[in-house]
């Protein structure tokens, strides 16, 4: 046993330097994409012993399979939405975007609206809570700062060398939300820099290209006239190459969402393409959740719309998106009120989901070798696929009134015609997750782009079924390979539901996000106030990401 643990730690330690040295070469920091080598046999995962996940322990107990707990921080009891780990000049800093609420900050002695937590996780065994940047004051519904991105001033084209900048949403569903930039060069003493844009509603998950400074902010505004079903949000694109001086570029969304769309008379773009149509199966289309840009070289953006229903997945030409409204032929109000043609101009591919599934996350994994097609293929060339991991968010407690929400691997090699290859799912049993309390189902896919994990494994948060990891080296036959289910603790917010006429509350942790750092550690952030757990891979999961794995 000791030998196995030592071996795992040694392997992780050996992986870390290779990943760390290149940490800022990949999106969102740089524009390189990790090369993915084939480490599977020609038969792939087909016919292999799938080693079915062992059943979890009782609901009040922690459960782990091929994962080991390395550290923990309670995040002061604040419910977490998004974790982000940044290698900040050799220090590993964990930024946590928190959901709405308020709670005492022991560092200041003040009750603070939930905002952004900053934790030094350089020593994963002893995380140190450095600072909490409060969220908006006022009613609790206005609070929260769920989303966070960080760029180095040494990478941003016009940033101040040596500085670090934090981009965050300010507020979640209130009447006057914003996106802000903070100086986090000293993560223990952040300084406010600028409000990029305010007067927003429904801020959500943004993306910030550090090497160009282009930020794809997600938000809506009652005043901007855009149309969305469900969450009222679309893209607001800014140039933050100098983070202190934001420059507005344009708004963007799906066809059918633009302010001048005639929603009452619009027809489906698929069934009745015409000058007044809407993409997908919902009129107007649902709002975007969180884009991912693969940078200037790959020149692609991937956008999921719909969160947990009426989904659409869209692939865009990045350059056409950014420059579309500067064309001499662009309409006068292209930036704020684009025409249907101007929204279609950068669109390369689109796929509509059905009503019971939405686009919460869409994570591209480009250049994945297919194990069975590295030799003896029709043209004799090793075959690779571009993949998109798409996740639909479960939004109901106790599975009430909702179909199961899963994740899928889409083949986007032909961008104009994305097509599903396989499904990533977790069964309700063993674990009896629908009766456990809180939500059961998929939420989000890990977005960090680091070798050797990129293209080998994916992590998906599965709410009360924990942080789940799949081996996707054979993407037609993805294998569940690890999980971690946190036990509830004294900070876990109970979830209550009316079951068979009786109101019942359960203490159940809910994994909201899984994220990786450039050392190979995995962060499982809890939505119900139970803290953030730092994990490492062990056993078969660790073997899947070692360079010589077979």
């Amino acid at each position: 046993m000791r030998v196995a643990v030592f071996g795992a730690v040694l392997t992780l330690a050996c992986l870390a330097p290779a990943a760390r040295g290149l940490a800022q070469a990949y999106p969102p920091d740089g524009r390189n994409i990790p090369a993915i080598d084939n480490t599977e046999d020609a038969s792939g995962a087909f016919g292999q012993d799938l080693r079915a996940p062992p059943p979890p322990n009782a609901w009040d107990r922690e459960s782990a399979w091929n994962m080991k707990v390395e550290g923990f921080d309670d995040n002061q009891g604040r419910p977490i939405y998004q974790p982000l780990v940044v290698n900040q000049d050799g220090r590993e800093i964990l930024y946590l975007g928190n959901l709405a609420g308020n709670l005492l900050n022991p560092l200041t002695g003040q009750v603070e609206p939930n905002g952004t937590s900053i934790i030094d996780v350089t020593d994963v065994h002893q995380p140190k809570f450095l600072f909490h940047i409060p969220g908006p004051p006022g009613t609790v519904g206005n609070a929260g700062a769920q989303m966070v991105r960080v760029c180095s001033g040494s990478v941003l084209p016009h940033g101040e060398k040596g500085k670090w900048y934090l981009l965050r949403a300010y507020g979640n569903a209130g009447p006057d939300e914003a996106h802000q930039v903070w100086d986090v060069t000293d993560p223990a003493a952040p300084k406010f820099i600028v409000t990029i844009v305010s007067g927003l509603s429904n801020t959500h998950k943004s993306w910030w290209e550090c090497d160009t400074g282009i930020a794809y902010l997600v938000a809506g505004s009652k005043a901007d006239g855009w149309h969305q079903s469900g969450p009222g949000q679309h893209l607001k694109i800014y140039d933050l190459s100098d983070p202190a001086k934001p420059v507005y570029i344009r708004d963007f969304g799906l066809v059918g969402q633009q302010p001048d769309a005639d929603v009452a008379n619009a027809k489906s773009c698929t069934a009745a393409p015409g000058p007044n149509c809407y993409e997908g199966n919902k009129n107007p289309p649902a709002g975007v959740h969180g884009p991912i840009s693969m940078g200037a070289t790959v020149n692609r953006l991937y956008l999921p719309y719909g969160v947990g229903k009426d989904g659409v997945i869209q692939i865009l030409d990045r350059q056409k998106l950014l420059a579309g409204c500067t064309s001499p032929t662009a309409s006068p109000n292209c930036a704020t009120r684009p025409t249907q043609a101007e929204l279609l101009y950068p669109q390369l591919g689109v796929i509509a989901m059905n009503a019971e599934n939405g686009g919460h996350s869409s994570m591209p994994i480009l250049g994945v070798p297919l194990p069975a097609e590295q030799a003896h293929f029709s043209d004799g060339k090793p075959q690779k696929k571009d993949l998109l991991i798409v996740v639909s968010e479960a939004t109901a407690n106790n599975c009430l009134g909702q179909a199961e929400h899963n994740a899928w691997i889409l083949d986007i090699t032909d961008e104009a015609a994305p097509w599903p290859l396989s499904t990533l799912n977790v069964p309700q049993s063993p674990g009896d997750f629908c009766d456990k309390g809180a939500r059961f189902g998929a939420h989000a896919v890990a977005e960090a782009i680091y070798p050797p994990y990129y293209g080998k494994i994916v992590g998906v948060s599965w709410f009360n079924a924990g942080a789940r990891v799949w081996d996707i080296r054979d993407p037609r036959n993805p294998r569940p390979i690890a999980y971690y289910i946190q036990a509830p603790n004294k900070n876990t917010v109970a979830s209550c539901a009316r079951l068979n006429g009786n109101a019942v509350c359960h203490n159940a942790a809910m994994n909201d996000y899984v994220e990786f750092d450039d050392r190979g550690y995995i962060y499982a952030a809890d939505r119900s106030g139970s803290g953030v757990t730092i994990l490492s891979l062990t056993g078969d999961a660790l073997k899947a990401v070692t360079p010589q794995a077979k």
Binding site: P79, L99, G101, L103, A173, Q233, T395, L400, N502, N507
Partner: protein, 138 residues
């Protein structure tokens, strides 16, 4: 020189009284949102559908934690209820008082939830009559 022992004795006596005086002037406060036994005994006064935020504050003081899960405005029915939590302890151990308010600021649901629930068993909650919420909180 002769006064020195007296001064020392007086100082010592004053010092011994200081904690009492300090306590009388400013009793050591409980951590915010921690219920006293008196407050725990009064929990029956919270009535779903009838008690307001002001009523709860008057009875229990400020909560230990407030949460609201209106994630991007897409919360399911009842999931965006503002929830107040208090900590407490009774003969059965530590617990959290969980109070959910509806959009009108009235108590919609409350429950006394043990910190340790063997096997993860659920806890019955009191809820306003006639509520239609399916998936309450989070």
């Amino acid at each position: 020189m002769r006064l020195k022992p007296l001064a020392v004795a007086t100082f010592a006596a004053l010092c011994s009284l200081a904690p009492i005086a300090a306590h009388a002037a400013s009793p050591t406060p409980s951590p915010a949102g921690t219920l006293t036994q008196q407050q725990i005994g009064a929990l029956g006064k919270i009535v779903p559908g009838q008690s307001s935020r002001a009523d709860v504050t008057a009875l229990l003081g400020e909560p230990w934690r407030v949460v609201q899960f209106n994630d991007c405005g897409e919360a399911m029915d009842g999931q965006d209820d503002e929830t107040w939590e208090y900590r407490g302890a009774d003969a059965n151990g530590g617990f959290r008082l969980h109070v959910e308010f509806n959009e009108h600021g009235m108590v919609h649901l409350f429950a006394k939830i043990p910190d340790a629930a063997p096997g993860g068993a659920g806890t019955a909650a009191k809820v306003e009559p006639g509520g239609s919420h399916m998936g309450m909180s989070m």
